[in-house]
């Protein structure tokens, strides 16, 4: 469990998505089977205006919180304003918001300063879950402009919940377990089946696997792709390996100290060619993963028509020798110690090191803890490093805002560009993003595809693998799935027979 907070507006983590979805509800949600299809949840209907600046939601009059009171537009307004004003990690989701109106108890109108086609997918993100504002306000929660300092409710949320979802928080022991209890008066169509759901901290994949096989657990969330074959032929367990929207990537930062050679885009492109992606996928996730073209993950709008990277050792050597670097050079590769989505960063960086040595580029690998890494990346910069990304919501705009060489993007700052006049600045990306946010349908898809190609040409972010995901449950559990917005919606799980 990577829980950083159980306050839905302050939370920002993978486990949080599961918790938030089970306990709080969003107005709309995303179909687990299709990340680009939106389904109703608290809202029965929703629509954006022609230029994507005004969004109107109609709430389901039947919706009630766990304490029986009705879910009203005022609660939505309060929850979203609180998210915006807390300046928490997920607050960026509300950026550009001009006003929130609740003309009547069943209607919510969100108005944006600029076109924001991303808002419907964002409204499905679990961090926009609706809180029972009366209950929370009594515990010191605040949605006012000074919520950042005035709100005192975070500790209360570690032991209590105030949502409308199928489950409620029963207890939480950091590092051990998160226990949810059934909301017996759940208003929605899928009544929760289990009286109690316990999410336990079981650190390694092998223990999770053991527990699942022994019947000590019903669902294992992190079975490693290497050990999934251990479950073959076990009739008490059902497993499936599905595509995910997560990926791990390496990032090249020409602006970092000691990375002058990377300023030449052809050198960066040579590095992209010199990586043996298929070999990496085999080594890191036992072949259970996909290559990914651009920072926009497979399955998202704008990912379909791009060319996947391919391994071309001779081409890489040729490009380096054209750049006058046939003899190679050294690069510092400091990376955070992590094992994410089944990919061990140490293994990944050793694999990349093995590949790059063949074009005479020597990586100096230095694994560090995340705080040290964060200090390095934002101070001196790191020429080559490794990171991971899981979507906050299902709109591709987040990838440009985070990875693009545009003002305000994290990887523009870190790689040493982004501001006008810097060598990496790519004004075309800013234009395309504005177009994408203002348009819908095919025009939007086209804009994001172009953005993906721009980011491939930047050669800053090199996705290595888009790992698949093991869904492993006891065989009598039904409804197991992986959802792009919410990770896992516990409300959809059931018991066979």
């Amino acid at each position: 469990m990577d829980v950083n907070s159980l306050d839905v507006s302050r939370s920002y983590c993978d486990t949080c998505q599961i918790f938030n979805t089970a306990v709080y509800e969003t107005l709309i949600t995303v179909d687990p089977a299709d990340p680009n299809k939106i389904l109703p949840r608290l809202a029965t209907s929703w629509e954006g205006n022609a230029d994507n600046t005004v969004f109107t939601f109609k709430l389901d009059p039947a919706a009630t919180f766990a304490d029986g009171s009705a879910v009203e537009a005022a609660d939505v307004k309060w929850s979203w304003e609180r998210l915006a004003n807390l300046n928490a990690p997920a607050s960026y989701l509300m950026s550009g918001l001009k006003s929130l109106e609740a003309p009547d108890a069943g209607t919510v109108v969100a108005t944006f300063e600029a076109p924001n086609s991303a808002f419907l997918p964002i409204a499905a993100a679990s961090y926009l879950g609706v809180i029972n504002s009366d209950v929370a306000a009594e515990q010191g929660a605040s949605a006012a402009a000074d919520a950042e300092t005035a709100d005192k409710a975070e500790e209360w949320f570690l032991a209590n919940s105030a949502g409308s979802g199928p489950y409620t928080l029963e207890s939480y022991t950091q590092g051990e377990s998160l226990i949810l209890a059934r909301n017996d008066s759940y208003w929605g169509p899928n009544k929760p089946v289990f009286p109690r759901v316990t999410i336990s901290q079981v650190k390694d994949s092998s223990s999770q696997l053991q527990q699942l096989q022994a019947g000590d657990a019903d669902i294992a969330m992190q079975i490693s792709l290497d050990s999934v074959s251990q479950l073959d032929g076990d009739s008490n367990v059902s497993t499936s390996v599905v595509d995910s929207f997560n990926y791990v990537y390496i990032a090249l930062s020409p602006g970092a100290e000691g990375a002058e050679n990377l300023l030449d885009v052809n050198v960066r492109k040579a590095i992209v060619k010199a990586i043996d992606y298929d070999g990496a996928i085999e080594s890191l996730v036992a072949g259970k993963g996909k290559k990914q073209a651009s920072p926009i993950p497979n399955g998202f709008v704008g990912s379909a028509d791009l060319e996947l990277p391919s391994y071309d050792l001779e081409g890489a050597k040729q490009m380096l020798s054209d750049a006058g670097l046939a003899d190679g050079f050294d690069l510092d590769a400091t990376y955070p110690e992590a094992n994410v989505y089944g990919v061990d960063f140490s293994l990944m960086m050793q694999k990349i090191q093995q590949d790059l040595v063949k074009v005479n580029i020597n990586l100096q690998l230095t694994p560090v803890q995340f705080p040290e890494w964060a200090d390095r990346i934002n101070a001196k910069g790191i020429p080559v490093t490794a990171v991971y990304f899981a979507p906050d919501h299902t709109d591709p705009s987040q990838y440009i805002q985070y990875f693009g060489e545009i003002p305000g993007s994290s990887w523009a700052v870190r790689a040493g560009g982004g501001e006008a006049g810097t060598p990496l600045d790519n004004p075309r990306e800013s234009e395309l993003l504005a177009t994408a946010l203002a348009s819908s349908g095919d025009a939007r898809t086209k804009a994001y595809t172009d953005l993906g190609q721009q980011m491939i040409d930047d050669a800053i972010i090199v996705p290595i693998v888009n790992p698949q995901l093991v869904l492993a449950t006891a065989s009598d559990i039904t409804g197991m799935h992986y959802s792009a917005c919410c990770n896992l919606d516990l409300g959809l799980l059931g018991l066979a027979g």
């Binding site: 994949s205 490693s224 061990d344 293994l347 093995q354 690998l365």
Partner: protein
């Protein structure tokens, strides 16, 4: 576990000696010597006869032990047997260097404290106390974290943990001989402190320091591996034993990856324990006093 090694000098000075006639002593010393010599040979010659390169991918990944790969292959298709052998080149020199440096620093500071007394003595002993007050592994972790990962920084961390043991030992020896008649006499006729140290103290201190150093060497090997296991020691891709165990721990069902480096550590630590014990008996510290 290295954490308890402060005790080594307690038992080094306790108990009657087993003699060479004791079969236990014979077997352990000879066994320990063979193991130590074998590892030494590995350190110096492995590059000529190791079956593969320790860093390159050979064959398929995660293969169980076979005729081609005696201890199987790891996740990056490297030969585990080769890597374990090369691991000796990482761990053993560093451990040896730690002990030598710690003994040297400890001797200088301990002798200074013993001879000069007064402020120097209390300063050195205060330093020793403070270092002892921190649990060794915490101290090593803190130093390694502050300096960053890497075998060289792990070396500094371990020297900081280990030198006080020897400072205390040497100071004790100096204090013990300082007041003996012949030393007093020597000093009264103008022998320099250096000469006294050189001629009288060091020969006496040499034996207990050597015994302790031998016993501690095994513990330093374990601590080196522990720091690497915690990500503070050797950097990848070097085949350090502790780092190999970390890698192997992720591949629980591919047990061969973590087993070999663990056994390597075990053999080295055991060998030096045996040798230290044997040395203590052979040199019979107590009889000389």
């Amino acid at each position: 576990m290295s954490l308890l090694s402060a005790e080594s000098r307690i038992y080094a000075d306790a108990g009657p000696r087993s003699t060479w006639k004791s079969p236990w002593r014979r077997v352990t010393v000879i066994g320990g010597m063979i193991v130590a010599v074998v590892w030494l040979i590995v350190v110096f010659t492995v590059q000529w006869w190791a079956p593969y390169s320790p860093l390159e991918a050979v064959g398929k990944r995660l293969q169980p032990p076979s005729w081609d790969h005696w201890l199987g292959t790891d996740a990056l298709s490297r030969d585990v047997f080769t890597r374990t052998l090369y691991g000796a080149r990482q761990t053993l020199p560093v451990s040896l260097a730690v002990i030598v440096t710690a003994v040297t620093i400890g001797t200088v500071l301990g002798a200074a404290a013993g001879f000069m007394g007064g402020k120097v003595d209390s300063l050195v002993m205060r330093l020793v106390d403070v270092t002892f007050a921190f649990p060794p592994i915490f101290l090593a972790m803190a130093v390694a974290a502050a300096l960053g990962p890497g075998l060289r920084n792990a070396f500094f961390a371990m020297v900081i943990v280990w030198w006080p043991i020897y400072a205390r030992l040497i100071r004790g020896q100096v204090m013990a001989v300082k007041h003996r008649d012949h030393i007093q006499a020597a000093m009264s006729i103008g022998a320099t402190r250096w000469r006294v140290l050189h001629k009288h103290v060091l020969p006496l201190s040499f034996t207990p320091a050597l015994i302790n150093a031998t016993l501690d060497l095994g513990q330093v090997v374990i601590l080196t591996a522990t720091l690497s296991f915690l990500g503070l020691g050797a950097k990848p891709p070097s085949p350090e034993w502790g780092a190999m165990i970390t890698d192997g721990a992720q591949f629980f069902y591919q047990w061969w990856i973590a087993v070999a480096p663990g056994i390597a550590i075990l053999t080295v630590a055991m060998a030096f324990n045996f040798l230290g014990d044997g040395l203590r008996d052979a040199l019979d510290v107590r009889a000389k006093r």
